[in-house]
């Protein structure tokens, strides 16, 4: 399952600079809004689902090498967060759906 398919199926909004998402295949996912838990539990190339939308999300994602973050419940990151994400190569996607729904659908799609 490529990131492009995930974006299309879940109707996610791309916040960072668009790129060839069909070349990216996330492996598994992690869901938490507690940053230290993500630091401990997420794996490189995971999709991270969270409703946090601030600068430290980018720091955690980049240090943990999680390249894709899905920000849920319509939380909107500030412009400088998106700029930093672009600099650090972190892809930010957003949706108005709640985390529970997004995680469930990702699981159904085989992102396990």
């Amino acid at each position: 399952m490529t990131l492009q398919e995930i974006i299309t199926k879940l109707d996610l909004k791309v916040l960072t600079t668009p790129q060839d998402f069909s070349a990216i295949t996330p492996r598994g996912g992690y869901a938490s809004d507690l940053l230290s838990c993500v630091m401990a539990g997420a794996q490189p190339d995971n999709v991270w689902v969270t409703l946090q939308a601030h600068m430290n999300v980018v720091a955690v994602a980049s240090l943990r090498e999680v390249s894709v973050v899905i920000i849920t419940e319509g939380a909107q990151p500030e412009a400088d967060v998106i700029t930093r994400a672009n600099e650090q190569g972190v892809i930010l996607l957003s949706t108005s759906a709640p985390s529970y729904e997004i995680i469930g659908r990702l699981w159904e799609m085989g992102i396990q």
Binding site: N56, D80, G89
Partner: protein, 337 residues
């Protein structure tokens, strides 16, 4: 040409970032950075306005070109193309001066303009080669799309070479320096409540480790440990503190120091889930009480020196496995930071 090119890249000399390979943007950037004089060809075959059509045909045939600028006293006064010469031929007018058939309305570009200007002109006018003049309208060269492609390629290769040399130098830092004990110290001042910059120091440290040739695994371990320590300075201290990383051939020492408020019960702080993070930090997802636990799992040794009303010193150490060691000249060893 090559000397001017070097000057430019020396001046720009931007390193290629980790997220490089975005060559498209780099090429776009180069078309603004590079000046026309840096990529144009300086060897230009010109004609004078009073030379004959026959001379013109001769030149184009010998040099295998499809047109030539017409120059009088160094000034660009026109261009003559194969089509212009054809017109003269059909009139059987081989002896006429070039001036009669040339077009005096010359599209040209300035040598000091960015390459993108030439690209725009090519697109707008559909011509394949453009005369280049200097600030005094004197002809100094010609530019084609091929010249631009070549110039951009040279510039990109130069970027990569510089980056490679830089990486090479850093990677062999420990080998090249002989001392009894070589270490590299990175120091960062972390400000309290500076959430916006939280994690920046850790990113820099991780990147420095990678540049020094550390494995991805080792860089990640260090990155996580210093990130948690950095955030604790931001969240829990009164005045922020110092994050210090000491890289040695066989180990990494990481340390934070601050001047308060201190940890009354260190054992409690070490328990998973224990946190005194304020609401502001909790709203952002801090305060799981997992930071110190994370650090412990990333390092070989962790020590906290603190107490109520005192400063806190957190010391972390990673011993490098033999295959991870930064190669270094032999030296004696002494313990401690």
């Amino acid at each position: 040409m090559s000397s001017t090119l070097q000057e430019t890249q020396g001046r720009k000399g931007r390193p290629i970032t980790d997220n490089d390979a975005q060559d498209i943007t780099r090429i776009e950037e180069l078309s603004y950075d590079l000046r026309i004089f840096e990529v144009m060809s300086r060897e230009v075959f010109t004609l004078a306005p009073n030379q004959t059509i026959r001379d013109g045909l001769e030149l184009l045939r010998i040099k295998r070109i499809s047109g030539a600028p017409v120059v009088e006293n160094g000034d660009l006064v026109g261009v003559i193309s194969t089509e212009d010469l054809m017109r003269a031929l059909t009139q059987n007018d081989l002896k006429s001066p070039i001036r009669t058939y040339m077009s005096a309305n010359v599209i040209s570009v300035k040598s000091y303009e960015p390459v993108v200007k030439a690209l725009e002109t090519f697109a707008r006018t559909n011509v394949g080669r453009l005369p280049v003049t200097n600030e005094h309208d004197q002809l100094v060269g010609m530019i084609t799309k091929g010249d631009i492609t070549r110039g951009v390629l040279v510039a990109i290769r130069k970027d990569y070479q510089e980056e490679e040399i830089r990486r090479y130098r850093v990677r062999h830092l420990f080998e090249d320096i002989t001392s009894d004990r070589t270490s590299l110290i990175l120091r960062y001042h972390i400000k309290p409540r500076d959430f916006i910059n939280g994690g920046q120091a850790s990113s820099h440290i991780k990147r420095a480790m990678l540049r020094l040739g550390a494995s991805a695994q080792l860089a990640r371990q260090c990155g996580i440990a210093v990130y948690e320590a950095e955030m604790n300075l931001i969240i829990h201290t009164t005045n922020g503190g110092i994050l210090r990383v000491q890289i040695e051939p066989h180990r990494i020492l990481m340390q934070t120091t601050d001047d308060g408020p201190g940890i009354p019960d260190v054992n409690k702080a070490l328990q998973p889930g224990w946190s005194t993070a304020p609401q502001e930090a909790r709203n952002m997802g801090f305060g799981a009480g997992m930071g110190l636990v994370n650090i412990k799992s990333c390092v070989d040794k962790m020590e906290i020196f603190s107490g109520a009303g005192k400063g806190t010193r957190l010391m972390m150490e990673i011993h490098l496995r033999p295959e991870e060691k930064f190669s270094a000249a032999e030296g004696t060893e002494e313990p401690g930071i």
